[in-house]
């Protein structure tokens, strides 16, 4: 049934590449706005910046349906357990973008109330600098994450990530982070 059409309209690829391609093109973010950066995150979703060009306009209200958590803003001591819980509720595979300096390092608020870097609470894939990062910066962070998904392993689980094995002068082909900003 229809097998005679198989001589056209198909291509072959490694399953891993196809999975990564699919994942890369439909990273659905969770709505996790905290502070100023959340406003810029919303701006990314609107007409001027239009994140739907990258298949990401579907901001999911439920963490169960989301792949990406954009930690947009400062994380207080009171919020940190909530943040971790939301992260734990997300399904694998999942990624985290730390948006803005407050989420990345505490920023200018080095005091009793603010967690000095969200990477103390959840593992972070991409850090976006700025206070707040402009929508362009967030888009750049998103593209960096896409590149990371494209070149990463599909079965890597965060908790069990082995250290990158270094052999004499030869680096295995799964880079931990990809620098997209430099032209290649």
């Amino acid at each position: 049934m229809g097998l005679e059409d198989l001589n056209r309209n198909f291509f072959t690829a490694r399953l891993e590449d196809l999975v990564k391609w699919a994942r890369r093109n439909s990273v659905w973010p969770a709505t996790f706005g905290l502070a100023c950066c959340a406003i810029e995150m919303m701006a990314v979703g609107t007409a001027d910046f239009d994140v739907s060009r990258f298949g990401m306009e579907v901001f999911r209200a439920s963490p169960r349906q989301a792949d990406l958590m954009v930690v947009a803003g400062r994380v207080s001591q009171k919020m940190a357990p909530v943040l971790r819980q939301v992260y734990d509720q997300m399904m694998e595979p999942k990624w985290v973008i730390s948006m803005g300096v407050c989420a990345s390092s505490g920023g200018m608020f080095n005091n009793y109330a603010i967690v000095q870097g969200v990477d103390q609470v959840v593992p972070v894939d991409v850090y976006a600098p700025g206070c707040p990062p402009s929508p362009e910066t967030l888009l750049h962070a998103i593209l960096t994450l896409h590149e990371k998904i494209r070149t990463g392993q599909i079965t890597r689980r965060r908790a069990t990530t082995p250290p990158v094995e270094r052999t004499a002068g030869w680096l295995r082909e799964e880079p931990e982070a990809v620098r997209l900003g430099t032209p290649r």
């Binding site: 001591q77 505490g106 005091n111 009793y112 109330a113």
Partner: protein, 189 residues
């Protein structure tokens, strides 16, 4: 008005008057409520009352009758490291102070109240039964300074987690600065 001196001799600046008060309309209490309480005149002629803790609640009630029907602001100050401040005669400086701003809507007016609260017994009557809007502000003041408000319906922490120890805005409470190390930072030169 028994206020001895304005806090400073500087004239109010353009565009920076206290609460934007201009002219006599903002001045004081027409009916003389709280005239027995020590007073000062702040910038732009704002009347500042310095009642004792016992007098504080009655003064609020008197001012409410005078038409000051909105409690705009309530906050605490910890004068631990700055004890010498200008106070009218007869008012003993204490470690804590609660500053209250009352507003009259028609005609527009504003008075302020500063109550001294001793460190040994940080307790003050709650303004909540007169001004329900004070509820969140008093909770914040309790959370940040540990001043307890008697008569408040729900005096719990509001900004900090429930199991937090200490009151962050007290002057003897550290900022909590965490030394940040940047992994790639070069060593000291």
């Amino acid at each position: 008005m028994s206020g001895p001196e304005p806090e400073t001799g500087t004239p109010p600046a353009t565009g920076a008057t206290e609460g934007g008060l201009a002219g006599a309309s903002g001045r004081g209490v027409a009916g003389g409520g709280g005239s027995d309480v020590p007073q000062l005149v702040g910038r732009a002629g704002v009347q500042i009352f310095f009642p004792s803790r016992e007098r504080y609640h009655d003064l609020l009630a008197e001012l409410q009758v005078e038409g000051f029907e909105m409690l705009a602001d309530l906050c605490g100050v910890d004068y631990l490291t700055h004890p010498g401040r200008t106070l009218p005669a007869g008012v003993e400086p204490e470690r804590f102070e609660v500053a209250v701003v009352l507003r009259r809507l028609d005609p527009p007016g504003m008075v302020r109240i500063r109550v001294q609260v001793p460190e040994a017994d940080p307790v003050l009557a709650s303004a909540w039964d007169l001004y329900p809007g004070a509820e969140a502000m008093e909770r914040e003041c309790f959370d940040m300074f540990g001043i307890r408000f008697v008569g408040h319906p729900d005096l719990t922490r509001i900004l900090m987690p429930e199991d937090w120890e200490g009151h962050p805005l007290r002057k003897d409470y550290g900022v909590g600065r965490v030394p940040v190390q940047f992994k790639e930072a070069p060593g000291p030169r």
